[in-house]
Symmetry: C2
Subunit: 608 residues, 2 copies
């Protein structure tokens, strides 16, 4: 326990929840890393697509950035409204469920859960990829580095929501600060450059991660200190403004300094950010600090998933579509199971793909845009239901958002279908099936165990008691004493392949059991010797209990299992695990008629 | 179960034991493979040692072989006597234990067990080594081939003792037959060669495996059909005679054909057997059949360990120096646990050494010669105790045997100490410690549970009953009904972090429990609501039970655990495993005062 305390922090009581809430300063690193990190690789992705155009491609960076900024602004205003309308946490699942029905809500949830897992794998492997391209000596350790970062982020998140905000604040603000300085200097020096030819190009799919960041804030409203809506909205504003400034600034300076993407497969490859920072401030100490913060933000962008995935699982579990354990809070008030499932699934993805997850990126965009579209559409219904004149503008904003993301979704689905987007069409329905099966099971349990009536006190006959024993010793004596207190109808059963053993027990039985019971005038327990030529224990006993059940279909049968409990692990190896196996077999193969009683025996502690 | 039947054969009843016994024909492949295989590599080892002498070395093969044959004859006569004196199985453990005391017996046993494990690893890897030197394409699969053969031998042995004799008869007799033909032809053709200069050389340690084979027969007397002593003696005679003829024949022909060892590290390496068979019969079909049977016998020499290791473990377990499960017979009347332990330990050795176990060979000889020496010394004491004039010759034979093996042990220990023999001096004492700790534990349990007195019928007060429940449903109703039959003193405990849950339960309690019990005039059970702000379940409950124990130090406390039993594995994931964890915690942290009762609830089977 002491080690756990060190690793995860001391347990938190329920009433300490308020103290765990965060403000804007901690909210940005906690929920915004995912979005901010796209400033680091968004321009790169856009320029790489334009690579075949050569230097000419550079002129398109402006318009592409403008389109992305517009989409971002649209989403910003949409989600600002969502946060205000759903102060209890308004993620796509909640909004779609409330307005479009539970099935649409679950569809959005399945898409988002898939996305969060992908985001962890892709984010960490992008960060590690950048690191190993800077230090090629680490190339062989790619997977190990990925898993190390994954475990690190998991541990921080198990320490509580507050902790992740605080732990990741340094790299986040270092990234924002250094990039801000680079942009300021660069803009100052290059003020005379400019000129933005207008051209239309399809929005590059790299925008999607920026937007899962936006979703995360709306889902995580409850993590903010009161007034939580204001905290969430301000955090969203801060994230979007910072992201917008970074994207616009990088795009402008790339043109001004005539920086283009280089082929990542060529040895002289250098990322856009690296070229830009080098061009503006030179390759001094400041350059390395900036690049280090970029790497950190990339790798830690996985944290957004850790903040949101467990929360979403909990919401689904509260509606009984996922195992209820997802709604249990661990020692630090976090949803431990959700965190663990996220860690294990992304570790699996990372391992399967050897730490290089580029091929997963197409899958990514579909989930995000599907969830956004459903959420926006849900909001449109929300406003229409509310009615009145005040809802016109918000309705329009959400309708515009829904159309934009819907169109983007269609484009991506078509463009990326063969590249792997079809996998989404397998995983999402599988998840939906799982949700419904789970719910069906819980409904059945609730129905079967519901007891809206007074305690039934009829038929309270004492049970038939069966006591399997191996030999006459203090362990069997204790069990028999308990049996005598429980019922007048007792059968002691001895099962053995060795007839001499049974004979010896019968001798002891007459002397040590029948005699004192006769003297006390109690009803005699029976002794049943069963021969087991195949040296089996369970089958003959279960058969015997089956016979008893057939004979007494209305009586309860209590099986008392005398058990020597080992208190040291090495003792555990020294005894046959028959008692344990028998209990498991009785419970699994049993029915309502059979009750299992453990009468444990403990060695006195001089026993080594 | 059907698959198990296919793989391991149908279960055997105890009374089928006699039918499982074997005669000489099956006894040789079962117990003799180890010894016979040394004909395949013994001469090779001797000639390799003589390699530096060049062609001159060849003249020494004669005297070395003679020394080995003398040692073998000595052991043969010694063990023949041992078999007659201990018809119940006279391995080193038994003989040393009976005559020199349990400590010496355990020392012999530890040495032999180590040897059996080594024999499996070394035998299989020697066979595979010969195979990959014939087919170098298989080199990369060395370890996989070793493990495959290991699993194959394990499965055969799990099918029963008879099966291993039958399954391995073909390669064994093929080996004996083809080698016999080669020797006959070779001797016929080379009758004129000869001349055996006498020279003294230390016996090469390669004799030791031949001799573990001898030990195996004496340990395994009980596997022979009656009269078992005669069966065992005849098998021993057959093995020794065949081995002697093969060794002498190969040695003679090697000289006659001027065959010497070649350096195994050079590319033109060829084994002695291969050279000899080629020289006598040419490289035709017969050559390949012979070589294949040599490989098979080498790889299957591990089988001797499988016949004897589980038997030896069982003997030790019957004296309570090893866990008793070693004395349990599985479905095919074999000692399953011993077989599994042998398989796992040798798989571990093979894996650690990558399937190439040459470095383990020095360890090998020490265990074997230590066990032989102790066994022979035991027999000397045996004859002296018996006294009379008839024991003089047997006593002399055993004394000679003891001296010869004792001297060999000393030479090997000195010569091979630095090469790894020192490891034996660590492993054997560790095994002895384990034996004694195990025995101490069993003695303590026996003492603590011994009950040589009549059933105690005083103090039969009904227990205090504690029923932890989460909510009022049919599961808790069933548990409460059982509690009411058990005792008038019942406390229902509800532990929750959520106060509303407790409040709701109190409402239901008044309506559904208190009311009908009042009407029935029964004693009211108590309801105890415990708040758990840290969301813990076990700690507050265990604390509460601790309080009860302190309050009622002389009463038994029965904890009734209502449990929903899942009948499908996937349902298992859907419920918190609280009942299971609670049972384990109660048993492990409990004491004689606490009894645990499972009242299981089964969903009716429409539940998916």
């Amino acid at each position: 326990m002491a080690l756990l305390d060190k690793l995860l922090g001391k347990p938190l009581a329920n009433h300490e929840e308020e103290e765990q809430k965060v403000g804007v300063i901690a909210g940005i690193p906690m929920l915004g890393l995912d979005a901010l990190s796209s400033a680091a690789y968004g321009p790169e992705a856009a320029l790489t697509i334009l690579l075949p155009l050569g230097a000419l491609g550079l002129v398109y960076i402006g318009p592409i950035t403008i389109i992305i900024l517009i989409l971002l602004a649209l989403l910003y205003f949409s989600y600002r409204q969502t946060i205000a309308a759903y102060p209890g946490g308004g993620g796509s699942y909640t909004v779609a469920k409330e307005n479009l029905g539970i099935h649409v809500g679950l569809l959005a949830a399945a898409a988002l859960l898939l996305d969060y897992v992908l985001n962890v794998a892709v984010g960490i492997s992008a960060g590690v990829g950048a690191l190993v391209s800077a230090l090629p000596g680490l190339q062989t350790h790619t997977l190990a580095l990925c898993l190390f970062i994954l475990v690190f982020i998991t541990l921080i998140n198990l320490r509580g929501v507050r902790e992740s905000g605080i732990a990741f604040a340094l790299p986040t603000y270092l990234f924002i600060g250094t990039m801000g300085v680079v942009l300021a200097i660069g803009l100052g020096r290059a003020f005379l450059s400019g000129g933005h030819p207008v051209a239309v190009a399809a929005p590059a799919p790299f925008g999607c991660t920026a937007m899962t960041g936006v979703e995360a804030v709306s889902n995580g409203v409850t993590v903010f200190a009161k007034p939580s809506v204001r905290g969430a909205q301000r955090t969203l504003t801060a994230i979007v403004v910072i992201l917008g400034v970074l994207l616009a600034g990088i795009a402008y300076l790339s043109r001004a300094y005539a920086i283009g993407a280089t082929d990542p497969d060529k040895p002289d490859y250098q990322s856009i950010i690296s070229q830009l920072v080098g061009a503006v401030v030179g390759r001094g100490v400041f350059y390395y600090i900036t690049i280090a913060s970029v790497l950190a933000v990339l790798a830690l962008s996985a944290n957004t998933s850790f903040a949101d995935f467990p929360r979403l699982c909990r919401l689904i579990a509260q509606d009984n579509f996922l195992p209820r354990a997802f709604a249990n809070r661990g020692r630090r008030l976090v949803y431990t199971l959700g965190i663990m499932v996220l860690t294990v699934s992304s570790a699996l993805l990372l391992t399967i793909f050897g730490g290089i997850t580029d091929r997963l990126i197409p899958l990514f965009a579909i989930g995000a845009f599907l969830a956004f579209t459903l959420s926006q559409a849900g909001m449109v219904v929300h406003w229409r239901r509310k009615g009145g004149s005040k809802v016109r503008v918000p309705l329009l904003v959400n309708a515009l958002g829904a159309s934009a993301t819907g169109i983007a979704l269609g484009i991506i689905l078509l463009a990326k279908f063969a590249e792997g987007a079809w996998i989404t069409l397998l995983i999402v329905p599988a998840a939906l099936m799982l949700f419904h099966q789970t719910r069906r099971h819980y409904d059945h349990v609730a129905e079967d165990t519901n007891c809206p009536r007074p305690l039934n006190l009829t038929g309270m006959e004492p049970p038939l008691v069966v006591v399997p024993i191996k030999t006459w010793n203090t362990i069997s004596e204790k069990a028999l004493r308990f049996a005598l207190g429980l019922s007048p109808d007792i059968v002691v059963v001895h099962i053995s392949a060795n007839e001499a053993e049974g004979f010896q027990l019968r001798m002891q039985w007459e002397k040590y059991v029948e005699e004192p019971i006769r003297q006390a005038g109690l009803p005699q327990p029976g002794l049943m010797l069963i021969s087991s030529p195949y040296r089996r224990l369970f089958t003959p006993l279960l058969n015997y209990i089956g016979d008893l059940k057939a004979e007494h279909p209305r009586r309860q049968i209590a099986v008392i299992i005398p058990e020597l409990v080992e208190t040291h692990w090495y003792q555990y190896l020294l005894h046959n695990k028959r008692a344990m196996g028998l209990k498991a077999a009785l419970l699994l193969k049993g029915d309502q008629q059979v009750i299992v009683i453990n009468v444990p025996w403990y060695l006195n502690d001089k026993g080594a």
